[in-house]
Symmetry: C2
Subunit: 167 residues, 2 copies
DNA sequence: ACAAACTTTCATTTTTTTTTGAAAGTTTAA
DNA sequence: TTAAACTTTCAAAAAAAAATGAAAGTTTGT
């Protein structure tokens, strides 16, 4: 396999993986492309390489920047904007975790708290509902916190995590 | 808030969360419904409660059973099939992790290994590509393993995890 | 073997999501 | 201030994903 083929395969795979995780294909592909590029790329080049429209490129680049995992760069003397991806993988994981937690987990937790707080009459159905949603709340809260801790201490996270939780 | 309203809110929220994680809305909703139900539910009742067609119900129930998080049950004397969800949350997490790892992470790892193995000529571009995809391979492999370990020891996973990894 | 009581399948339709591209907007340099 | 060189926006189109429902398939009891 040669370079171009490998790069293409990587971009395609990363794109497919993205869609399975609720991220749109183009967004994941642009990110993939930027990750393996050793120098900043212009919108023009992204469009060219991925065969996508200007609008598509613009919107997905904005989304990636909102996630904090792609940056704009300006080259001296050039009018055009260039883009780079966060390449430190720990940093990338931290940012993605934080963002997904904020956007998805936190709101879900709020709802779980609400619905588990209903006044149950005594029926088995209602008792089970309250019980199950309460457990779910605790579980999701704990999982979210663990993720937070893991990503908080990127380096050596395991050891520090243990200290923090065990004490 | 009363029971019916709370249940509905939970089912809707779980469904929305599902779509953000690459699981289709109905599948997540059926799962939600079964999770908070204290007794097995028939396909008929699922269709009724979620206002979906027979085909849709059937296909999504099959998918949930393929994931191993919903079970068929037979009630004595009844011809109809009933369904229950895995309600133990640790067990649920284990099954979802395993399945996603098998279906998505493992194939991605295979590709990462492949593309990071190209013979780099000396150019910066190719060197960077090999370097970055190798790092990515290591990172994803490690993350996948940690998840595996966490879910392997549902109870007390943290302590055992430390022992296993630290030694 | 038959038929009633169910479930599954899959071509078609519907809905949702993504992409396009042209117009509007912005920035810079002269 | 103007115009060239860009980027963003967003209504419309296209593509992808999900849902429908009727026909085909299966199972069970008699």
């Amino acid at each position: 396999m040669e370079f171009k083929e490998a790069k293409n395969k990587f971009v395609q795979t990363w794109g497919a993986l993205g869609s399975q995780w609720g991220i749109n294909k183009t967004m994941a592909q642009i990110h993939a492309l930027l990750m393996v590029s050793h120098e900043p790329i212009s919108m023009e080049d992204i469009m060219e390489e991925l065969q996508i429209s200007r609008g598509n490129a613009s919107m997905n680049l904005r989304a990636l920047m909102d996630w904090g995992i792609v940056y704009k760069e300006y080259k001296a003397g050039e009018r055009k904007e260039f883009f780079t991806a966060e390449k430190d993988l720990d940093e990338l994981a931290v940012k993605i975790s934080r963002e997904r937690s904020k956007r998805e987990i936190k709101p879900a937790l709020k709802v779980l708290k609400e619905v588990s707080a209903i006044e149950s009459d005594g029926t088995a159905a209602e008792k089970h509902f309250v019980d199950q949603t309460s457990k779910l709340y605790d579980f999701v809260l704990k999982a979210d916190n663990v993720l937070d801790k893991i990503t908080e201490y990127k380096d050596n996270w395991l050891a520090k995590l243990v200290v923090k939780i065990m004490k």
